[in-house]
């Protein structure tokens, strides 16, 4: 546990020193939200209809954009090698890195999402559903994205490959996430959707760290 906290503290300190890493996904998220109505139609009735889908797609792409860098810095300066020759468990370290990634991507997105929802004229009943679905869905995005990031960290240009690898895994989260918001906006019960998102999250917390650790070992050792 002490090691987990030390790893989390180090990663958050690194993010704090490179503030661009936080701002990038958030700026992307906001830009999509601002540009979409300009490009399509500013009609409130239309926007509130597509809000759930657009906000979730923007959040998903913002996560995907930032997940590529989750191990890259450590790989390039040799820190990752030191982590692999450490007697400390790699699983704990990987979990700490994913959680710190989520805190600066998914968690921040969930916090500013009501602002975006307002720009899309989302009915106010949908706000809670939006925040809860992002809070439950984005950690899964970080976990699954980290598997792709681990597999491609040794490649010079992993960016395209990581999207190909990870996007199919993101689709269920997108469907249930956007579904939650739509149901919420129409005043329908959302517990069923949230339970599904939660189940996907529990499943990926259990299995993804093993896959990420194995992916990192493959990338470094081959």
């Amino acid at each position: 546990m002490r090691f987990f906290l030390a790893a989390l503290k180090r990663d958050l300190l690194l993010v704090f020193r490179h503030r661009n890493d936080i701002i990038n996904p958030l700026a992307f998220f906001l830009m999509v939200a601002v540009l979409f109505p300009l490009g399509v139609s500013p009609d409130p009735a239309f926007l509130s209809e597509v809000a759930a889908g657009v906000i979730w797609v923007a959040a998903l792409l913002a996560c995907l954009l930032s997940v590529d860098g989750i191990f890259r810095g450590d790989y390039e300066d040799g820190s990752l090698e030191q982590m692999l020759v450490s007697p400390e468990p790699l699983l704990i370290l990987v979990l700490a890195k994913v959680i710190s990634h989520w805190l600066v991507s998914g968690f921040c997105l969930a916090i500013i999402s009501p602002l975006v929802a307002m720009m899309f004229f989302l009915p106010s009943e949908g706000y809670l559903a939006l925040i809860l679905s992002l809070l439950l869905g984005t950690p899964t995005l970080s976990l699954m994205g980290a598997i792709g990031a681990g597999l491609t960290v040794g490649l010079r240009r992993g960016g395209v490959l990581i999207s190909l690898l990870v996007l199919p895994l993101y689709i269920p989260v997108l469907i249930f996430g956007a579904g939650t918001v739509q149901a919420g906006a129409m005043g329908l019960p959302i517990q069923g959707y949230l339970a599904l998102l939660g189940a996907i999250l529990v499943f990926s917390i259990m299995l993804a760290p093993f896959a990420i650790a194995a992916a990192l070992k493959v990338s470094v050792r081959s």
Partner: protein
């Protein structure tokens, strides 16, 4: 301490070594010699468990390396080409993290280690504003902290000044006197006071 049997390694369809066996005993310095591209770094990475691209057996204290990996990592210190130093963290933060990763870095305090490598007064400076040699020194401060018996050092003297190299050589001599062993590669003319260096020449190993 460390025994390698029948090592075979191939890279890009070029055999680097075949039927390669050697061992490293307690209290000795082994220098891996060879031209650029002869596989020095590859060999050290294999010994650290950072490469799976080989066949053959490696034993640590008589046990198969795969079975005693955790013990081995506690007893081994690896300093690679890349120092593993984060540019945006200060020297002290970097070393504190390294101590979290490796519990055998417990011989002295961070302040003492930084003083020894001549970075006294630089502990609060982010490493990216240090010079290349100073960054190298941050990575090498681990040698002062380490109580691990086996050191695996890949080109440890790159970017160091003459005085820095002398100090590290004296440190290696100390480590040997305490019963530790060192396996390293360097293009520098290595002189360890009071010790003979056993060379392993990769230019002379089997390639068939």
């Amino acid at each position: 301490m460390l025994e390698v049997k029948n090592l075979f390694c191939e890279r890009d369809e070029r055999v680097l070594f075949a039927n390669f066996s050697f061992q490293i005993n307690a209290a000795e310095v082994v220098q891996i010699i060879g031209q650029n591209g002869s596989g020095k770094t590859t060999l050290l990475r294999i010994l650290c468990g950072l490469s799976d691209a080989y066949s053959g057996e490696i034993y640590w204290q008589g046990n198969d390396l795969d079975e005693v990996r955790d013990q081995y990592y506690l007893a081994m210190l690896y300093v690679g080409h890349l120092a593993g130093v984060k540019g945006s963290l200060t020297a002290e933060e970097n070393l504190r993290w390294m101590m979290q990763l490796d519990k055998s870095l417990d011989k002295c305090t961070i302040a003492t280690a930084l003083k020894q490598v001549g970075l006294y007064g630089f502990e609060d400076v982010p490493c990216h504003s240090l010079s290349a040699g100073q960054q190298r020194r941050v990575g090498l401060a681990r040698l002062y902290l380490s109580s691990a018996p086996l050191w695996i050092l890949d080109e440890p003297f790159t970017a160091l000044d003459k005085k820095g190299v002398k100090e590290k050589e004296a440190l290696i001599a100390n480590h040997i006197e305490d019963g530790g062993s060192v396996i390293l590669t360097t293009h520098h003319d290595l002189k360890i006071p009071g010790q003979t260096i056993r060379p392993i020449n990769l230019g002379e190993v089997d390639r068939a």
